[in-house]
């Protein structure tokens, strides 16, 4: 169990990539677009960065299936919470003839 399977160079490359993505996401905030794009782009980049951290730094890439299940389950459940609740918010205004329902 004790043999490291990822080389030091890989870790360094991943870290450099992460820093570059950070610079990119901060840089994009200087781009004047409708604010919703800041959220979309920012979250996309954040998901990429988080994936890099989880896959390489947290060794998910070389982990057992069980670890993968834990990761996927937590993402899925977070998705349930976000999608179903925000779904209520997004669809509340969809029946305009019945005020404020």
């Amino acid at each position: 169990m004790a043999e490291p399977l990822i080389r030091v160079q890989t870790y360094v490359v991943v870290c450099v990539l992460l820093v570059l993505l950070t610079v990119l996401t901060v840089g994009l905030s200087f781009w004047h677009v409708p604010p919703v794009w800041h959220i979309v782009l920012g979250l996309c980049i954040a998901v990429c960065k988080a994936s890099l951290v989880v896959l390489f730094f947290m060794h998910a890439l070389i982990s057992t299936r069980l670890t993968w299940i834990v990761i996927l389950v937590s993402c899925f459940w977070l998705g349930i919470l976000l999608v179903l609740t925000l779904g209520d918010y997004f669809s509340r205004g969809m029946v305009p003839a019945a005020p404020g329902h």
Binding site: C15, V19, T22, V26, F30, A50, F57
Partner: protein, 244 residues
């Protein structure tokens, strides 16, 4: 971690397992150190799943209110200090690199590198907290603390917000303080854990056969890093910045 790899032959391994040094670190409910390590690692992963939901509900609140109050959230977000926020991201990412290197070196039984990496991780963590403290001070100076140092007039006059949007700004700042505060608490606990590992490593507690505390601490540290990765765009980068 990976069942097929082994730096030691099974015979060597058996000898090591029986050695007094390793034996007294095996809890009685486990069969061997592998089982113990897998249990500890799985336990930490599951704990992190819990943490995902914990922070997730805050992100949900932030997201829902961002949807309802786009303009106020955008203007309030611009007021946050993106320079410190961005720098802190880099600080945490680099600390994560050293953390993962620490795990790397403990597996290779390279004590000196292990100590250096753990030390740098803790130092960068402290740097993060220091920058965070500076940022909090600047927020204090700039009247960004809802309920304590906050000036509604400023937002109406300078930012052109309407009176009813001021509470929405406070709402955003409330989320900012809660989320960064909670994250800061996690960083603090993480630093404590890393320092504990440093002391244990100094005393020669770890070996390639027994390093699960370092591994588990690293998982936690990386998770805290991941949370910050999402906090950066959701708090600091909601609006369009202009060059100062």
């Amino acid at each position: 971690m990976s069942p097929e790899s082994a730096i030691l032959t099974p015979e060597e391994r058996a000898v090591l397992d029986q050695s007094v040094l390793v034996r007294h670190r095996l809890e009685e409910q486990f069969r061997d150190l592998d089982q113990q390590h897998e249990a500890a690692s799985l336990g930490m992963w599951i704990f992190l799943a819990t943490e995902v939901m914990f922070f997730g509900s805050l992100f949900l609140g932030l997201g829902a209110y961002r949807y309802l109050y786009e303009e106020a959230f955008e203007k309030a977000s611009i007021k946050l200090n993106w320079i410190i926020g961005g720098t802190n991201t880099v600080v945490l990412l680099v600390s994560s690199l050293f953390m993962v290197l620490a795990v790397h070196y403990v597996k290779l039984a390279r004590r000196k590198e292990l100590l250096v990496c753990l030390g740098l991780t803790a130092l960068l963590g402290l740097l993060f907290l220091a920058l965070k403290g500076l940022e909090y001070y600047l927020d204090y100076r700039d009247n960004l603390i809802p309920g304590w140092r906050f000036d509604p007039e400023e937002w109406i006059e300078k930012e052109g917000l309407r009176a009813e949007q001021v509470p929405q700004v406070e709402l955003f700042l409330m989320f900012y303080w809660i989320m960064t505060g909670l994250h800061g608490l996690h960083v603090t606990l993480g630093i404590a854990a890393v320092l504990t590992m440093l002391i244990l490593a100094w005393r020669g507690h770890f070996s390639p056969a027994y390093y699960s505390p370092v591994d588990v601490t690293a998982l936690y540290w990386h998770f805290v890093d991941t949370v910050w990765i999402f906090l950066l765009p959701m708090l600091y980068l909601l609006g369009s910045h202009t060059f100062p």
